[in-house]
């Protein structure tokens, strides 16, 4: 996946995530692709970064840059890490493709002090309209797959996600609504309007008391 927009600048939503990471912290990027975000964080914020990526091409490209990345996935490879191994665990646009999103979230907050999660919002009006009016499984700019070839097996709306966080006693520290280009929308990221308008949700999570 191409994550950069040329001359070393990050895709808008990745830049947003990168800005939330503390300099010098320990970061795990789950589904790190070719390591664009980790590389940026290493250069600009001196983080101790690790990555997990499914594709050989992605892992190869990342390791060839000198990054520490293992071939694996969120479902099988988070459980081994010890508690509190990372300051921040990042899961960008991958939650909907995991087999057990609930376990993935729990594991992220076990091994990390906080988690940054972004995902496509299935509650957006385009999706709702596609299903309600078109009578077809929605294919939009952010959800480009047909039903039969999609790797995305666990879609949720922003409201579904906040409900799950509540059930798991996960605290939402920050909620940001994004449009289809990853630009920030001027509204509460966890509210009803975001659930209707946002193409993506971006959440910073930690364990509740």
């Amino acid at each position: 996946m191409m994550m950069t927009l040329g001359n070393g600048s990050l895709r808008v939503d990745l830049k947003l995530i990168a800005d939330m990471v503390e300099p010098g912290s320990r970061v795990l990027d789950v589904g790190c692709g070719d390591g664009t975000l980790l590389s940026w964080l290493g250069d600009k914020k001196q983080v101790d970064g690790r990555g997990i990526e499914l594709s050989m091409a992605g892992v190869s490209a990342a390791v060839a840059q000198g990054l520490s990345v293992i071939q694996g996935d969120a479902d099988t490879d988070l459980k081994d890490y010890p508690q509190g191994a990372f300051d921040t665990v990042i899961l960008s646009q991958t939650l909907q493709a995991t087999r057990a999103p609930k376990d993935v979230l729990s594991n992220m907050l076990r091994i990390g002090r906080r988690a940054i999660v972004s995902f496509p919002n299935f509650g957006q009006w385009r999706v709702r309209a596609g299903l309600a009016l078109g009578g077809r499984m929605p294919v939009t700019d952010t959800l480009t797959y047909e039903w039969y070839d999609t790797p995305n097996i666990h879609f949720c709306t922003i409201r579904d996600f906040t409900e799950l966080c509540r059930a798991l006693n996960i605290r939402i520290d920050t909620a940001i609504a994004l449009d289809r280009d990853g630009a920030v929308l001027p509204m509460s990221g966890a509210g009803w309007l975001a659930n209707l308008v946002a193409a993506q949700g971006l959440f910073v999570l930690s364990l509740g008391d």
């Binding site: 690790r50 050989m56 892992v59 190869s60 990342a62 390791v63 060839a64 840059q65 000198g66 990054l67 520490s68 990345v69 293992i70 071939q71 694996g72 490879d77 081994d80 890490y81 010890p82 191994a85």
Partner: protein, 390 residues
């Protein structure tokens, strides 16, 4: 071409005697006070001795990594990787590779003469382990005054040694590359080794291991052992691609006999017959045994992660998709153990149909990944980048 344009480089290799001051105590309890180690070096050790890479060879390998083999004349077994400007750059790094304890290319082993008796060790040689091999390597590294190796790298049995190094001498390994290996030898692999050993032992010329004294050589047994083992180094796809069911060049029909009708038979026979010219049958018994005994978790209370507790080493684990001798899941077990101690680890499964032997062959994706890892590790170690020499 010799790997090093270094005028001091001796393609025949070097030897050193270890253990005289402090005997080497083997896992079996035997102490050895005269262990000769045959080794080779490439490149130059830098002033602060921070650029040394130890290469660990596989079961039937040796220290002729990038020099022609003295018996077969074939190019070094890792010539693709080792040389000036190559991935293991002899212009930047000081590379060391030694023939393992129990080997037959100059290091003390069953073929060599036991100084106490004046006769070849043969079956009186003590049974050795991967840990013993690594202990001897550590003594060799000591002899250079090197405290910490920049990297320890090896495939298959060499990878076992890499893991053993990381567990036994964690502070002496800055980075580690265990390739196509496992933290313990599987039942299936022990089984294949046993077939090979029994083939040797069943050869009447083995003479209870005393063949050197009795002037015989169990070449039929050793050749069969090699033939069986060689199959495990390949993959079905690679065998099919190379040979299919093709008959040998001069045949267009079956011979209705037991000659080598098929190309694959002729190939295996060739592998077997050339192997006996360069390898010692007793060495084969001892080294396969050492691999069988290897179980890093068992040495650490049954929990593999314990072997790596507190490690600061940077790891790059690699496996090959068609390797059924050391399948990817065994590498994954190592990775999971390293994750459990939050170690710094990279892992990639390279897509290849070349089987276990892929680690010795031209695999561009593997080389690109490995090159990036070494370069990244060099940066973290403060070793000068390419073209930026002081």
């Amino acid at each position: 071409m010799s790997a090093a344009h270094d005028p001091d480089h001796n393609p025949a290799g070097l030897t050193v005697e270890l253990g005289r001051d402090i005997p080497i105590r083997l896992d079996c309890g035997v102490e050895m006070d005269r262990v000769v180690v045959a080794y080779q070096t490439y490149g130059r050790l830098n002033a602060d001795k921070s650029n040394a890479i130890l290469i660990c060879h596989a079961l039937t390998g040796d220290h002729y990594v990038a020099d022609p083999h003295p018996l077969t004349g074939k190019p070094g077994w890792w010539i693709d990787l080792v040389g000036p400007g190559k991935l293991l750059d002899t212009d930047r790094y000081f590379l060391i590779c030694s023939n393992v304890l129990g080997g037959c290319m100059g290091t003390t082993g069953p073929k060599e003469v036991n100084p106490a008796t004046g006769k070849p060790w043969g079956q009186s040689f003590p049974v050795i382990t991967i840990g013993d091999m690594v202990q001897v390597q550590a003594r060799l590294v000591d002899s250079f005054g090197i405290d910490q190796l920049f990297c320890v790298i090896g495939g298959s049995m060499g990878g076992m040694q890499v893991l053993e190094w990381c567990a036994s001498f964690p502070e002496r390994v800055f980075s580690a590359v265990p390739i196509a290996t496992a933290a313990r030898h599987s039942a299936q692999n022990i089984a294949f080794h046993e077939v090979g050993r029994q083939a040797i032992i069943a050869d009447p010329d083995w003479r209870g291991g005393d063949y050197l004294e009795q002037g015989t050589y169990p070449k039929r047994g050793l050749a069969v052992a090699r033939m069986a083992a060689h199959i495990t180094y390949l993959s079905e796809a690679a065998l099919h691609r190379k040979f299919g069911r093709n008959l040998q060049g001069d045949r267009d029909a079956f011979s209705y006999g037991f000659g080598a009708d098929f190309q694959v038979e002729s190939y295996l026979r060739h592998q077997g017959s050339t192997f006996v010219d360069r390898f010692d049958a007793n060495s084969y018994l001892y080294i396969t045994r050492a691999m069988d005994y290897f179980d890093l978790a068992a040495e650490h209370g049954g929990v593999l992660a314990n072997a790596f507790k507190g490690t600061k080493t940077r790891f790059c684990v690699a496996s090959f998709s068609s390797d059924w001798l050391f399948p990817t899941w065994e590498s994954r077990e190592v990775v999971h153990a390293l994750n459990a101690v939050a170690a710094n680890v990279s892992f990639v499964e390279i897509q290849s149909d070349k089987g276990h032997d892929a680690f010795l062959l031209d695999e561009p994706e593997f080389h690109a990944t490995l090159g990036g890892f070494i370069e990244g590790a060099a940066r973290h170690r403060g070793l000068t980048a390419k073209g930026g020499r002081p």
